[in-house]
C-alpha cells in the first residue's frame, strides 16, 4: 500500500504541481498582505480540475511554504508576511538591524522544517489511532465534539470572547440558509433559487480572506515599504549550534504548535503567539526577548509550522477543521471523494498515505526552495503592489465565479469581503465565523437527530461515557474565563 502511495506522489504531473505550488506559496507568504489562507482559497478553483492527490498536495505544499516565507519580510520590512509570523516580527527585525539577519532567516527556515516534520509525524501516528476510537461515535458524541470545537475556536481567538461568540453565531446563521437541513425545508431563501442551494463557502472564504485583506492593503496605500539592508550569506551557518543549544525550546514549540493546530479554530498564528510567550516565560534570559534574541524565533518558528500539520488531524478524522486553512480543505476533500471521517482510513487509505508523503516531501523541499526564496527576497519584496493587487482581485473574481459558474459567487465574495474587513477592524475574529459556516450543518444534523432519538430529553446527551466526558470538557471551557475571574476576585 505504501508502494502504491509513493507511486501516486512520484508521478511527474504531481511533482510539477508540488513544485509550482511551492513557488506560489513562497511568494504569497513573503509578500505582506497575502496570507497562507488566502493562498488556499485562491488555489481551490484551480484544484477543482485536478485528481485528488495533486489537488491536496498543492494546498499542503503552498501553505507550508507560505508559513515559513512569512518570516522573510519580518527581517527586511518589519512586517509579517502572514499573521503566523507576527509574534516575532519585531524580534527578527531587531536581529537584522544588528547585522544578524542571516541567523534570523536561517533559524526561521531550519526550525520551520523541524516543526513541520514533527507535526507531520504526529499527524501520521495520531490520526489513524483517533479514527479507531471515532468509529464508535454516535450523533451524541459528534454533537459534543462539534460544540467543543466551536467553543475552543471562540476562546482561543485573541481578544474579547463575546465578540468571538457573535462571530461564531453569525457563521452558524449563514450555514443555516438553504434547503440543506434535516427537514429539507427551504430557509432564508427569499424565493431565490441561488439561495435555496445554500451559501457556497468558497466565494465567502475568498471574500473574507482575500478581498478583505486587499481592502486593508489598499487602505494603507500611503505607507511605503522601507527595506532594511542586510547581507545574507550562508543561512545555515551556526544552525547546528542553535539546534544543540535550544533542543527543549524546539521540542516545546513543536508540541504546543501541533496541539494548538489540532484544536479547532486556532491555527499557526495563535500557536506562534503562545509559543513565543511560553519561550519568554521559561527562558533563562527573558530580558533579551525583543532586543534581537533568536530563542523565541526558534520556538515560535517551529510552532507555527507544526500547527499546520496538527490542524489536519481533526479535519481528516472528524471533518472538524483545526484552522481556517483546513476549513477550506474539508470542502475540497468532499469534492474529491475523500470524505473526511473515521472511515477515511479504510476507504481511501492509499490517497491518505500519499497525502502524508506529500507533507514530508513539502517540508524537505522547503530547505532548498527556502534558501532560494531568502536569496531572492529583495526581488520578491520589490514586486509592484499596484500591479499585484489588481491581478489578485481579478483572480478572486474568476475563482468565485468558477465554483458554480454564476455571478452570484462574485456577489457573495464582495459582500463577505466587506463583512470580513469590518469584522476584523472592530475586533471580531473571522476564524470562528468560518468554523461556524463549515460546521453548522454538521452541528444541526447531530443536534436534531440526537433530540429526536432522545425525544427531547437532555439527559440522553450525557449518558454515553464519551459523550459525557466531552460534555464536561465543553462546560469546563465555557465557564473557564468566568471561574478564573471569580477566583481572582476572591483572592484579591
Amino acid at each position: 500500500m505504501l508502494f502504491e502511495a509513493f507511486k501516486l506522489v512520484l508521478d511527474p504531473y504531481v511533482l510539477w504541481v508540488i513544485l509550482g505550488s511551492a513557488m506560489f506559496g513562497l511568494f504569497v507568504g513573503a509578500v505582506p498582505g497575502l496570507t497562507a489562507t488566502m493562498a488556499t482559497a485562491l488555489l481551490v478553483p484551480v484544484t477543482f480540475f485536478m485528481p485528488p492527490v495533486p489537488a491536496i498536495a498543492s494546498i499542503v505544499t503552498a501553505t507550508a511554504m507560505a508559513i515559513f516565507a512569512g518570516d522573510i519580510p519580518s527581517c527586511f520590512l518589519r512586517m509579517p508576511g502572514t499573521p503566523a509570523s507576527a509574534a516575532y516580527t519585531d524580534e527578527a527585525y531587531a536581529m537584522t538591524k544588528q547585522g544578524q539577519g542571516e541567523i534570523a532567516l536561517g533559524a526561521g527556515l531550519v526550525f520551520s522544517v523541524i516543526g513541520g516534520l514533527f507535526g507531520t509525524a504526529v499527524l501520521i501516528i495520531a490520526a489513524p489511532a483517533l479514527a479507531e476510537v471515532a468509529l464508535k461515535f454516535s450523533s451524541f458524541e459528534y454533537f459534543w465534539l462539534v460544540m467543543l470545537g466551536l467553543l475552543s475556536a471562540v476562546f482561543l481567538a485573541l481578544g474579547n470572547p463575546l465578540k468571538g461568540v457573535v462571530s461564531l453565531l453569525l457563521g452558524l446563521l449563514v450555514a443555516s440558509a438553504g434547503l440543506d437541513n434535516p427537514a429539507g425545508y427551504p430557509r432564508f431563501t427569499f424565493g431565490s433559487a441561488e439561495l435555496a442551494g445554500g451559501l457556497t463557502l468558497i466565494p465567502i472564504m475568498i471574500g473574507m480572506f482575500a478581498v478583505s485583506e486587499i481592502l486593508r492593503s489598499v487602505a494603507a496605500i500611503d505607507k511605503p515599504w522601507e527595506m532594511a539592508q542586510a547581507k545574507i550569506g550562508n543561512v545555515f551557518r551556526g544552525m547546528w549550534g542553535l539546534t544543540k543549544k535550544y533542543p527543549v525550546q524546539t521540542l516545546r514549540g513543536s508540541v504546543l504548535g501541533t496541539a494548538i493546530g489540532a484544536l479547532p479554530g486556532a491555527g499557526a498564528d495563535i500557536a506562534a503567539w503562545m509559543s513565543y510567550a511560553m519561550s519568554k516565560r521559561f527562558s533563562k534570559e527573558p530580558e533579551k526577548f525583543g532586543t534581537g534574541h533568536v530563542e523565541g524565533i526558534i520556538e515560535a518558528g517551529a510552532s507555527n509550522n507544526s500547527a499546520l500539520a496538527g490542524a489536519w488531524i481533526p479535519a481528516l478524522v472528524f471533518g472538524i477543521p483545526g484552522d481556517s486553512i483546513t476549513a477550506i480543505v474539508i470542502g475540497v476533500l468532499y469534492i474529491k471523494g475523500l470524505n473526511p471521517g473515521p472511515t477515511i482510513f479504510m476507504n481511501n487509505a492509499v490517497s491518505l498515505y500519499a497525502i502524508f508523503i506529500v507533507f514530508i516531501l513539502a517540508n524537505l523541499l522547503m530547505i532548498p526552495l527556502g534558501v532560494a526564496a531568502i536569496k531572492s527576497a529583495k526581488q520578491m519584496l520589490r514586486a509592484p503592489r499596484e500591479i499585484l493587487l489588481p491581478v489578485i482581485l481579478l483572480f478572486c473574481i474568476v475563482g468565485s465565479f468558477a465554483i458554480n459558474n454564476s455571478a452570484f459567487g462574485v456577489i457573495l465574495m464582495l459582500v463577505f469581503g466587506v463583512v470580513g474587513y469590518l469584522m476584523e477592524e472592530n475586533g471580531f475574529p473571522v476564524a470562528p465565523a468560518i468554523l461556524g459556516m463549515v460546521l453548522g450543518a454538521m452541528l444541526e444534523e447531530n443536534f436534531i437527530s440526537s433530540m429526536i432519538k432522545a425525544d427531547g430529553d437532555p439527559v440522553a446527551f450525557v449518558t454515553r461515557p464519551i459523550a459525557g466526558g466531552l460534555a464536561v470538557a465543553t462546560f469546563v471551557i465555557l465557564f473557564w474565563p468566568l471561574g478564573a475571574r471569580l477566583l481572582r476576585r476572591a483572592k484579591g
Binding site: L169, N181, L394, V398, G456
Partner: protein, 127 residues
C-alpha cells in the same frame, strides 16, 4: 412544521437567541466603556486611500453588473486598468500589465479549466 417535534426553525431560533444575548452583553460593555459611539479609521482622512478603497469596491460591483453584457475581456480589462492607475501605476505599465493579466487569466480559466466566462457583446468573436 406540523408533525415534527424538532423542525427547521429550531436551530436558527437558538442561534438567534444567542445572538440577541451577545448583543445585549456587547451593548452593556460598550455603555460601561463610555467611549465614542462611532470611530473612523485613520485612512479615511487620506483622499488617496478613500479613492483606492472606493475603486476596489466599485470595480467589483461593476464586474457583477456589467460582465454579462460587456463580456469578460472588456470588463476585466477596464477594471484592472482603473485599479492599477488608482494604486499608482503609470499608463505605460498599467495598460500592458492589465492586458496580459486579462488574457492569461481568461485563457487559463476558459481554455484549461473550462469555466464559461461570459463573452457578452463579443459572442460572435468567441473562440
Amino acid at each position: 412544521m406540523p408533525g415534527q417535534k424538532f423542525g427547521p426553525a429550531w436551530f436558527p431560533g437558538l442561534v438567534a437567541a444567542g445572538l440577541g444575548l451577545c448583543g445585549i452583553g456587547l451593548i452593556a460593555a460598550g455603555l460601561r466603556e463610555r467611549g465614542p459611539w462611532v470611530t473612523f479609521p485613520g485612512w479615511l482622512r487620506s483622499a488617496r486611500a478613500r479613492l483606492a478603497v472606493a475603486t476596489v469596491l466599485g470595480g467589483l460591483l461593476f464586474y457583477v453588473l456589467a460582465a454579462d453584457w460587456l463580456g469578460f475581456y472588456l470588463t476585466a480589462l477596464l477594471i484592472t486598468v482603473v485599479w492599477m492607475r488608482v494604486l499608482g501605476a503609470s499608463w505605460r505599465l498599467a495598460l500592458p500589465a492589465a492586458a496580459v493579466a486579462t488574457v492569461v487569466i481568461h485563457l487559463s480559466f476558459y481554455k484549461l479549466l473550462r469555466i464559461p466566462l461570459p463573452w457578452g457583446i463579443f459572442e460572435r468573436y468567441a473562440f
